[in-house]
Symmetry: C2
Subunit: 687 residues, 2 copies
Amino acid sequence: MANDDPSSRRPGVTPRRVDPLLEVRERKRGRRPGDAYVRIVRPFEEEFERTDEGTLVASERTVLARTGWTAGLRRLRTILIGRPISSELEEHERLTKVKAMAVFSSDNISSSAYGPEEIMRVLTLAGAAALSLTVPLAALIIVMLGVVTLSYRQTIKAYPHGASSYLVAGDNLGDRAGILAASALLIGYVVTVAVSVSAGVAAMTSIIPELYPERVVIGVAMVVLLTLGNLRGIRESGTIFMAPTYLYIGVILLVILVGFVRLVTEGGLPQFVVPAAWEGLESGTQVLGLFLVLRAFSQGAVALTGVEAISDGVPAFKPPEWRNARTTLTWAATIFAVLFIGIAFLATASGIVPDPTEQQTVLSLLVRHLVGSGPMLVLAQVATALILVLAANTSFADFPRLSSFLARDGFLPRQFAFRGERLAFTTGIIALSAMAILLMVVFSASVAGLIPLYTLGVFIAFTLSQAGMLVRWYRRREDGWRRGMAINGLGAATTFAVMLVVGSANFLQGAWLVVLLVPILMLLLWSIRRHYHGLEDHLDLERIPEGREVAVEPIVIVPVARLDRTARQAIAFANSISATATAVHITNDPESAAELRERWPEWAGKTELVVVESPYRALVGPLLRYLDALQAQDPDRPVLVVLSEVVPRHWWENFLHNQTALRLKLRLFRRPNTIVADVPYHVSADR
Amino acid sequence: MANDDPSSRRPGVTPRRVDPLLEVRERKRGRRPGDAYVRIVRPFEEEFERTDEGTLVASERTVLARTGWTAGLRRLRTILIGRPISSELEEHERLTKVKAMAVFSSDNISSSAYGPEEIMRVLTLAGAAALSLTVPLAALIIVMLGVVTLSYRQTIKAYPHGASSYLVAGDNLGDRAGILAASALLIGYVVTVAVSVSAGVAAMTSIIPELYPERVVIGVAMVVLLTLGNLRGIRESGTIFMAPTYLYIGVILLVILVGFVRLVTEGGLPQFVVPAAWEGLESGTQVLGLFLVLRAFSQGAVALTGVEAISDGVPAFKPPEWRNARTTLTWAATIFAVLFIGIAFLATASGIVPDPTEQQTVLSLLVRHLVGSGPMLVLAQVATALILVLAANTSFADFPRLSSFLARDGFLPRQFAFRGERLAFTTGIIALSAMAILLMVVFSASVAGLIPLYTLGVFIAFTLSQAGMLVRWYRRREDGWRRGMAINGLGAATTFAVMLVVGSANFLQGAWLVVLLVPILMLLLWSIRRHYHGLEDHLDLERIPEGREVAVEPIVIVPVARLDRTARQAIAFANSISATATAVHITNDPESAAELRERWPEWAGKTELVVVESPYRALVGPLLRYLDALQAQDPDRPVLVVLSEVVPRHWWENFLHNQTALRLKLRLFRRPNTIVADVPYHVSADR
């Protein structure tokens, strides 16, 4: 009652402060103003710890505690991705080399499963005899992998805090080059997820053809599983993804070993008998020209795309980060080389040709040919399917990290730089997942449709990164700079050549889409940065020589729809912060307005009421014009509009309320010098 | 500067009031506090008119004036649906009888285009000889239409403010019956739009088969056009839709006239020669049993669905409403009867049989047979296509009106009861349009798929309405109640019988969906009303014997992310309304927190700063727990959270800002005793 009347505000009496450092003092019963506090209790000491004057440290409880239906959501989230992890534990979330290889190299290593086949498939277009080029081309790719690996070993050492192409190119060649590399990589990562998961699903559906019609749904489910795994945080995702990678490596190494043992002991391998059904199918239709060899090569170059992953992820390694990362890179390249050349050599030596009906992979033909159709074949197929799906995980490690770098530099919205509860870059993970799912749905999870988009982006980034290192060596002239320049120069030339080959050989099949999307993405990143920079100029206090903001009392307006408790509560709040609050009733019904005015004094005390009749039944327009008129009288004072809103018991009931308040808020948000206060009325709270 | 310090609030000085009735006084230059105002100017007199003490009347300008990019939207809206119409003009927006027939009867009259054909098509299943039943069945339907029309003439007189089945059944048989009628009608109206538009599009595509693949897009475009037309308001929609209705009536009447003249002058009609291609196609496969006759009848019963429309729309007629509505109903029924029986008779007399390949309608065969393939045929086809699309307009008049009745009674969200700028029920029109489009997309605009859903709902409503009238006569026993009871009893019995026939004959073809949806919709309507009623009990001031809400000063908290002008503005606002506002900085970076604290006094004066470290990087959880702790100290005071938000220059830039503020607001909205104030910082305003 007392404070409702504006004139009753007690001048000179400063309201008692609540203690902002949370010591809740129990009051003496029946205390009068001025009485001392009696006892100190700390009911919130489990939620906040006080460190020194003016600082509180929040506990895990502050994150987990929820009430109502959101508590269920919180529990579900904890089940799916685990409890929050404190920033202090960041160091402990680092990866051992063994785990890092599983996380960052599954992309690289898994491409040994289809790389040789893709080369052979192109070569057979010029007849079975052309298959003799398989091993030389595979060897060339291994040599190039060696060059790129040596190159990147230097990059990792030079950039121990993350050797992403974006950073290396940006640092040495300027922002534009960095953004070009970043755009190419971001697109590359999204395509990687779509391709790898689609290929994994295809490996599955070739064992169980009944699943083929559901391949998009299965693929989407896989991506969702990968997303959840990555949201749990990098250490656990390492654990989850370790088994399939090493299973695949072990099984294929074993098959290769069997092959060589038979080759040595039996003095040669049994020859593969080409089924009669394959004769004349789509083979030998073209001449073995340069373009065909280049296409065969560019199919195999897919194998190199995984190298960037480890460089990007240097900070995720256990210390010393750069040394562990270099070692892991060398291991991964070596294992890949052995598997790749081993498969290519044994397949050629056995006279295996790719199945033109695409019902069996070359790898499965080879396994069957060398060790028979027993459990080993099933194991090899399962391991292949698993590692293909998990190859997508490399992108799940890289994309969020790269986008966090971009966000830190203002090229992407800030959320991309925030680590979530589990120290993972939640926004980046979810963005990658959403775009990859979109791509899979659009392309119906077809590997053939997606693969032309695959390699170009990554090789653009490679080239820029190596070129950046070249410039860096030249500028710094540190010890061994000539050797360094030679290595990185060779790397840059090699990756540039591959980029040209891959881009031109696949241009019409889909690489044009990448050529189109990269500049668009660059433009987007630049616009975002220009926006953030412009805003910073605007908001920065240092640059504008001006005193503190003056606290001018606002003009307080309470729109009132009818006489009910929500309105009464809003008016009470307005009166608590202003002695001159005015209620406004906008209506198209003069009769109800007259009734409201009649009952007003009894109901709202001395609070002033203004009735605005709106014969066009609009509410928002007249209210805004009314505010204009008020502010024209006193342009220095802001307007505070106090809105009452009903908080219903159930979320769906929101559709039945507050629609007008929502429209009003959207319009008021853009109005200069206007503040909106929401006074919620909780239906559930019985009062 | 001055007011920034909490202690500088001048006790006892009430801030100057702005005049809430908008007289803007020009101030003397360099005035000091206490100086008198000099001159009165009224810059807002074109926007507001002052009527008497404390009331303003808003002009059209308050609705139309917009700034920035919303001004373009506003202009587009004005172009599409016209300028706002004042409530005072409501009387003038009434319909003449001639226009009302176009608006409300196009559904009814248009069904003469396909009604006879649908009867004949079912009868031919029992062989061409069964076609002799066409005229008797058509006559039966006309008799029933007569009964229903007589029945509804009474209903219109008894309910001059709107004789919707919902009102009549609810008034006499209780709320449950009313809601049953309303649910059946709502569903019926949505299906009517989908069926009529699809049929109209089918009539078009049978002239121009190239359009067939685009039929869904064309149908959706038609619905959008109808929506815009109806949003312009009822009088104009009457004008728009008048021409096609009367064109159709004129053309078909002329054809019938030609037919009868030839019959009399030539002593008989030339006989239709059945094309050889039709022989043996899907005819004579069934025995002419009762079920087949009933199905044939129920196809024809579609013709009766339009009667409810005029009764529903009584308030839209010029006064005297009920008399004009009754006359229009009689006219419409008579015109329909002539067209329907005329087409049925002439088609049978000419020996026309329905085209089993469905490439031509019976009506077009008849026109071609009687007047040849000249311009008359084209005119008849065009008029038929137009009236079929416009038949959907009947539902656009009825659905919004019925839903406004339901909203007024609390069964639908309140928006359905608001008249838009053009006096049309905007929400209802848009809801109908959206659901009809959904239905057309789901059913691929197939008339055959939709028609089984069509008739049942309307006949449920008919039966309830007539039964309601029966009870009303019996209870009131006014003059002529026996005659009234006889007429309405006959009507109720007839419509009930048709309902049973239609429901059972079409059950498996799709009527089951209606049987399923009606109870679900009833449940929804009841839940909405229960919610509104429960809330009213809660909010009603009369029922709770309690004094005024006490104005308790809130605990004011300002979350501060960093030192910039948005934060400074929020703190200034907080200080302007509270002497004890506290800033809270939640961070996971102790270093930046230390820097903030160091610069704080220089920057924010005596405003208190609390730093909360959040090692789990969460922001919302710790802040909420912090508020809990503060309120535990002083449970009576509400918490006011002051948020600063950036208002960017372009709407899309919102994706780069305020995401955290949005999440915070969603959580704070459900927190009891918490008020949120948004202090926007406008980037565009150079200050």
